[in-house]
Amino acid sequence: MKPTPRENLLRAARREGFDWVPIDLLLCDSQIRAFWSRFGHEEYFDWFGVDFRWVELYENPGFTNPRDLYPREVLPADTEFDVLGLGHSKGSEAAFHMTHMHHPLAGADRIEEIVNYPLPVVRKEENKPLIERVRELHAKGLAAICMMQMTIWEAAWYLRSMEDLLMDMMNGDEKADILFDKILDYQIQRAVIHAEAGVDILSLGDDVGMQTGPLMSVEMWEMWIKPRLKKVIDSARNIKPDILIFYHSCGDATLFIEGLIDAGVDILNPIQPECMDFNAIHDKYGSKLSFWGTLGTQQLMPFGTPEQVREVSIERIRKCGENGGLILGPTHLVEPEVPFENLVAMKEAALELYPRRS
């Protein structure tokens, strides 16, 4: 019997086989506009045959006037604020969708400021639409994945600024522990609500890799980040034992893989091939970990030919073998310069070896 997209994706992610190779991609605004001009709609997940949909949790900002969160900074007039209170101001026109981030706790020297920082309020009773959305997706045979990236490390430095947070950590200043624990409590609440709603995949992540290696030592990560990450994962698994844990880190995350598996991660994203050796990582961890991404957006997708995209896609699919363990996709947001033909080449390569039965 033909599996539903959800069944196919979850089996592939658990390395239990698959009927077709699941694919994923996320288009930037200008790519979405280009897709619209081509097809007259923007449902590109449908067109590419993506087996899942992202779901969102509802949360209330913890503040009334976000500008009050910035006593030390005069923000540009065009600044917009997200639910965490992070300010995002526009760059030049050349910056397209990218914004400049402002850190409300940068320069804060009083512990009370960290303790009292108003993180969003998440209420179970306000998240019935999430439960309904997950039910609706499951009824359509689609899997539900939620966005909880920027889980511990990134959420903390986005609020505090990387420099101040690293100084706190290195100096053993209690502000670091207080901020991390505050964020941990918030993330546990979100993880629990997602798990209770029946989400299939919890997407966590923190950028701890750089192009040339880890951003911080593995020891430092093991001390500050990993135990908290594990608590978030455990809190979701306590509610929904079969929930899959997806973890994102930009850059070279190779040295963290062992610790991530130990913390309970099932799927690693995005495995940037320009700085991570996918074949070697698969040889070492392929029996314990699945991979999501793997098609480089620094070289292959923007500058490669469709034939090169096809070749690399097929190489990845063959490497992962009959059990799967691969969700094929560009490693990051598809930026404006990626030719549409390269995205089509990825889609067609996925179907070439494992055609999708109609």
Binding site: G91, S92, A94, A95, F96, M98, T99, H100, M162, E163, L166, M167, M169, M170, N171, G172, M210, Q211, T212, G213, P214, L215, M216, S217, M220, G251, E274, T297, Q298, Q299, P302, F303, E335, P336, E337
Partner: protein, 225 residues
Amino acid sequence: MMNPEELLAQIAKCVERGKVNKTSPFPPDMKEQDGADELTSKALDAGISADVVLQKGLVPGMEIVGVKFRENKVFVPEVLMAAKAMSAGMKHLKPFFQSGAVKRKGVFIIGTVMGDLHDIGKNLLGMIVEGAGWEVIDLGIDVPAAKFLAAVEEHPGAFIGLSCLLTTTMLNMEKIVHEIKAAKPDTKVLVGGAPVTDDFRARIGADWYSPDPQGAVEFLNKHIN
């Protein structure tokens, strides 16, 4: 009481280990010890010239950090602490820079290219190059060619370092290199950032690419005016 050699070696060690001053708790094994702050002051009081303190104390410490960072033996937090220690020492040298008794090796103008708002890599570069004894002028992020050119105008002979993270903005990097080279052909332009390669550097006519900050220091040090 340390002799001058020991004092300079200890200043270098403080920078390398990120020991800012006596009260700073990091690194734990140097607790209660003088940091780069106190030792630089003591070295100057002991009659060691500011230039020697810089070249034989502070700079060698940061150089070790730059090399270790390239070799993935230390990471961003350690570089940050080293830069803090370095600037605690440099604070005492400020009057000597102002009087001209000590000179920096040259001026390095850095910025993330127009359209790109990422700054972590560029900031690390700035810390390590400054720690190598160069004056670093950081133009920030989203910087157009005109701003780089205005800065070179103000600092003749300065080197320029361009950073980007996105493939989208590599195109802007190319345009900026062309504009700089058209207006100031003798200006040396260094490029870096996650998607940048040496092939790309050659194609756009820049002078040097390095995947890590220390590579930029090595290029700059070879080209002191």
